[in-house]
Amino acid sequence: MKARAFEYVRPQSVEEALRAFGDADGDAAYIAGGQSLVPALALRLQAPALLIDIARIEELHGLAVVRDRLRIGATTRHFEILNSELVAEHAPLLSKAAPFVAHPAIRNKGTFGGSLALADPASEFPTMALALDAEVEIASFAGDRRVAIADFFLGLYETALQSGEMIRAVHIPVATAKTRYAFDELARRRGDYALVGAGVNAEYDGDRIERIGIAFLSAGPTPMRARRAEAILTGSRLTLEIIREAQEALDVDLDPPGDEHTPVEMRLHLARVLLGRLLGRLEARP
């Protein structure tokens, strides 16, 4: 389990990093926290000739609220999300999900941008970004562009990022007094990728749901929005009947993987149970 030989550079700026990628004829990879890439290299699932280490590029790092958006720099570490008061106030759903991301040692290194770029359908942050209608700010030679999160995840480990493009930051609409949210997942062991997990981010108008974002992890090839369930819930009060209808809609919304040991029906069942439980415990911003 040793990686193939590769070159390594540590550029100081995004500009420099993009250039290094361009010069490598596409046979390169950005490395941020390395918590997913290094194992892939060791297993020889990936073998780029050049690693471009972006973990210490100053401009990629940090949290800030800009108008009604929380800006999360790409190399912001998982533990920073977990501990940030800014995140707790403006994107509390992320704070809720953060303790479920791996283990402390991995959270110390792993980055928000790396997690989104990898687009593992079992990962918490990409899925929460989807529930929160985030926007991804992408840097490239051709200039920066922004992609709505709904258009970012294209398939299994496949995103809107073109070769050489880099996530610079992620922008998340901030929570308001009307926001209600909940996160939970069902993992066999603490810190494992879950069998199923979900985040709910709702805006209330009185006792009615005005808007709701529900996203599931481990429930399809990408992080999955439960659009039908959302449609059923939007404009409604939460009654047992409505919740049941929303749960049933998940059969259409989700497309979980399955095998003999964890059948599709198992994950769907757990998704329904989870949605019911989450809707029953939506909470307001602290």
Partner: protein, 789 residues
């Protein structure tokens, strides 16, 4: 005869005391030296190309491109190594008609499991060896894989050397079973499935094989429990005189039985070193461990229990089919597990009508063999689940039905219907102790209250019998060159300190600590002045080493007897020096004292100084014997059986199938306890492995015989967050076969943990008409049993 338990306030009385491990600090500071850390001059690194198929015929192997890569020193295939290594066959004579195909380091004709090493590459670094491995072209004609154990019984032989896939079969019949079933008020029947799992040691398998052609000498630095066994194996199969083979087992990061079997990779590394005349290092990486370390368990059991209206068990019938991979492991075989399963069934209970059938079958998966608590968890889970099932049908409490059936504590010695001889067990005491330890009655009350709130808790208990301190009846009688005796050399250093080299080995469980306690205790010296050395065939006497719960019981007795002999020698020399009768002297706190008054007469350092440097002052004809070599082999009962009881409390979420393990209790009788701290650690570690089997660990294969979860992401090892507090209590029934009185304890936790957990889950689900009889009890299986999916 047992030594007195020793009052704990006597100076240097270490037996029975919770003292810390001298080597723990070194390991914690990162100063451990494992095989992986070893770098020798001119050392090369090995990597293997493995079979992608579970079964197939090797058509061709093209190694040219790999061999041409810069930094590659050699590429070996099956034929190269077959030329210098004789095949091995994993059978034992006392398992009648047992058969197994001969094994070579690398295959020459066929591959029989996915992950089997086929080509060995030796290079200047492991990374280069892996680069070269990508360049090897192997053409294998895929053949149908035999993955299912039951199918294996009737399918064509996967091995060309054999006619069928039956490795070993056995029938036991103590008589009276048909009559008992006929007459029974109640017959309970159940089928069970026990998944395959594996050891997952922190340190993987590793070897540095260092062959020196100038002396025809092989030194193997080998992460193993059993250096002497491997000295024998390397000597015989590579034709090197035994005295020229040295096996050194340095710090070992866990073994659990996994590191005492012969593996193809280690044999190939030794062969490569012989062919190249250079040291060759092989360290299994985690992915390799999953497809090449032994797996364990894998049983399909059907059982029937005959019970009277009064809850009395009158007979039992068992059929066990267990699958072991394409061959039986060497040199201990893969039949021991099944043998112990069918012989330990029903062991705690007082009935004689017993019948069992065992079939050990081959299949296209990696070899399965002895792993912590060999056979025990299967026998225990089947027995204890059947007993609970009977209790449920008769509306008896689990404690009650057991109380009615236990072998009474005052009825020993006893022989089990399967031929085991029990010297003295303590089931009744253990069961009642467990009841109070668990606070059973209030647990039941709490359970009932929570049930009203929709919270489902389950309480399960299980009794067990464990095999420890094996005599030659285990392996020696079957023709295996595996020692049941141990040896120690205890010596006084010129400064009056003590050195003990002993054949039992340390894998992290504290063997060296326990031996040090015994030696210091028996000699009357400070523990800090006793140095223990293990794990080197050149430096310690030959012996069985540490496995099957024998380190403390047999190794400890060896150390005790050796230390007493050295003490007698020391007192005799001191007698000459002091012109006193040795019988009037004793040793305490490193001093020779007047036995009656305790008055200090002369320090051991002074005795040593005189004996080593001023022997001219001793009377003529006196030769001070300050080193003692001593061997000990168990001679009384063939095994020292131990027993105990475990309890489990779980909470089941019937919507998700998830189980929270809330508490676990163990009452254990391992005879004389030498170090309560280490004994409790052994029990806790063992329980965690048992709970791992119950809820998490399983090697999953698809129909093509591919392991589908062979990584630490997918194979679920039990972790601290999911583990409950484990409360322990002890009963001490020393064996009278030794002076020390210690029996084994390393496997006790594992033996019954999964059984107790299974009973707890079934207790929780009792009202829901669901019965779990397959482990691990995964959320999927629980929801299926509940009919939710």
């Amino acid at each position: 005869m047992n030594v007195s338990a020793g009052s704990l306030d006597r100076p240097n009385s270490y037996i029975g005391r919770s003292v810390s491990r001298p080597n723990a600090k070194r390991l914690l500071e990162g100063k451990g030296r494992y095989v992986t850390d070893l770098v020798l001059p001119r050392m090369l690194y090995a990597a293997f190309v493995r079979s992608p198929y579970a079964h197939g015929r090797i058509l061709s192997i093209d190694t040219d491109e790999a061999a041409a890569l810069a930094g590659v020193r050699a590429v070996f295939t099956g034929k190269d190594l077959a030329a210098i290594c004789t095949p091995w066959v994993g059978t034992l004579d006392h398992f009648k008609n047992m058969k197994s195909p001969p094994q070579l380091p690398l295959p020459t004709e066929k591959v029989t499991w996915s992950g089997q090493p086929v080509v060995l590459i030796v290079a200047d670094s492991r990374a280069i060896a892996e680069d070269a491995a990508e360049l090897v072209m192997i053409d294998i004609e895929e053949m149908p894989a035999l993955a299912d154990p039951v199918e294996a019984m009737s399918a064509g032989a996967i091995s060309e050397e054999l006619d069928d896939n039956l490795c070993f079969s056995m029938k036991l019949d103590a008589g009276g079973v048909d009559e008992a079933l006929e007459a029974a008020d109640l017959t309970v029947e159940q089928s069970f499935i026990f998944g395959r799992h594996t050891a997952v040691t922190l340190e993987p398998r590793a070897i540095v094989a260092d062959y020196d052609p100038s002396e025809n000498r092989l030194t193997a630095h080998h992460a193993t429990q059993t250096p002497y066994q491997f000295q024998d194996v390397y000597s015989r199969h590579f034709g090197i005189p035994e005295a020229n083979v040295r096996v050194i087992a340095p710090d070992i990061g866990g073994s659990f039985g996994m590191k005492l079997h012969v593996y193809h990779e280690e044999m190939a590394a030794v062969g490569a070193s012989i062919l190249l005349g250079r040291p060759v290092k092989y360290v299994a990486d985690r992915m390799e461990s999953f497809v090449s370390d032994i797996h364990a368990r894998d049983h399909r059991v059907t059982a029937r229990l005959a019970v009277g209206k009064d809850g009395r068990i009158t007979g039992m019938e068992v059929d066990d089919v267990t699958a072991i991979g394409p061959f039986s492991s060497y040199p201990r075989t893969s039949a021991v597990e099944g043998n112990q399963v069918v012989r330990l069934m029903g062991a705690p209970y007082d009935f004689s009508a017993y019948r069992a059938k065992l079939s050990v079958v081959f299949q296209n998966k990696v070899q399965a063999s002895q792993y912590r608590a060999v056979g025990h968890p299967i026998a225990c889970a089947v027995t204890e689940c059947m007993v609970d099932k009977a209790a449920r049908e008769l509306a008896l409490d689990p404690f009650d039905i057991r109380g009615r059936n236990l072998i009474p504590d005052d009825s020993y010695p006893r022989k089990s219907p399967t031929g085991y001889q029990f010297e003295k067990l303590s089931h009744e005491v253990c069961l009642s102790r467990l009841r109070s330890l668990m606070n059973y009655d209030s647990l039941r009350e709490e359970q009932a209250k929570l049930r009203e709130k929709g919270i489902l808790r389950g309480i399960g208990i299980a009794l067990f019998v464990e095999i420890t301190n094996p005599s030659p009846a285990f392996y020696g009688v079957g023709g295996a060159r595996i020692s049941a005796q141990d040896g120690a050399v205890v010596k006084l250093t010129p400064s009056g300190e003590v050195h003990c080299a002993i054949s039992v080995t340390e894998q992290g469980q504290g063997t060296e600590t326990v031996i040090g306690q015994i030696v210091a205790d028996q000699l009357g010296v400070d523990r800090a002045k006793v140095r223990i050395m293990t794990g080197d065939t050149d430096m310690t006497p030959h012996g069985g080493a540490t496995w099957a719960c024998r380190g403390a019981g047999i190794g400890g007795e060896t150390a005790l007897q050796a230390a007493r002999r050295l003490k007698a020698n020391l007192l005799s020399i001191a007698g000459f020096i002091l012109q006193a009768q040795p019988g009037e002297l004793d040793i305490r706190e490193d001093w020779i004292i007047e036995a009656t008054t305790g008055q200090q007469r002369i320090s051991l350092a002074e005795v040593a100084r005189i004996a080593f440097f001023r022997s001219d002052t001793l009377p003529p004809g006196t030769q001070a014997q300050l080193s003692v070599a001593h061997h000990y082999a168990p001679q009384g009962y063939p095994f020292a059986f131990t027993n105990g009881a475990q309890g489990s409390l779980v909470e089941v979420d019937v919507e998700t199938g998830f189980v929270k393990i809330l508490r676990h209790w163990v009452v254990e009788d391992c005879g004389r306890i030498i170090n309560p701290l280490l004994v409790d650690e052994q029990i806790r570690g063992g329980v965690v492995q048992g709970l791992g089997a119950a809820f998490f660990e399983e090697c999953l294969y698809n129909a093509e015989g591919q392991l589908t979860n062979g990584s630490l992401t997918d194979y679920l090892v039990p972790m601290a967050c999911e583990m409950p507090d484990i409360e322990i209590s002890h009963v001490e029934t020393p064996t009278r076969d030794t002076e020390l009185g210690a029996k084994g304890v390393g496997e006790a936790g594992t033996a019954a943990a999964s059984a107790a957990a299974m009973n707890a889950v079934n207790d929780a689900l009792a009202g829901h008409g669901a019965v779990l009889s397959q482990i691990p009890m995964t959320p999927t299986r629980i929801l299926k049993a509940l009919g939710k999916i």
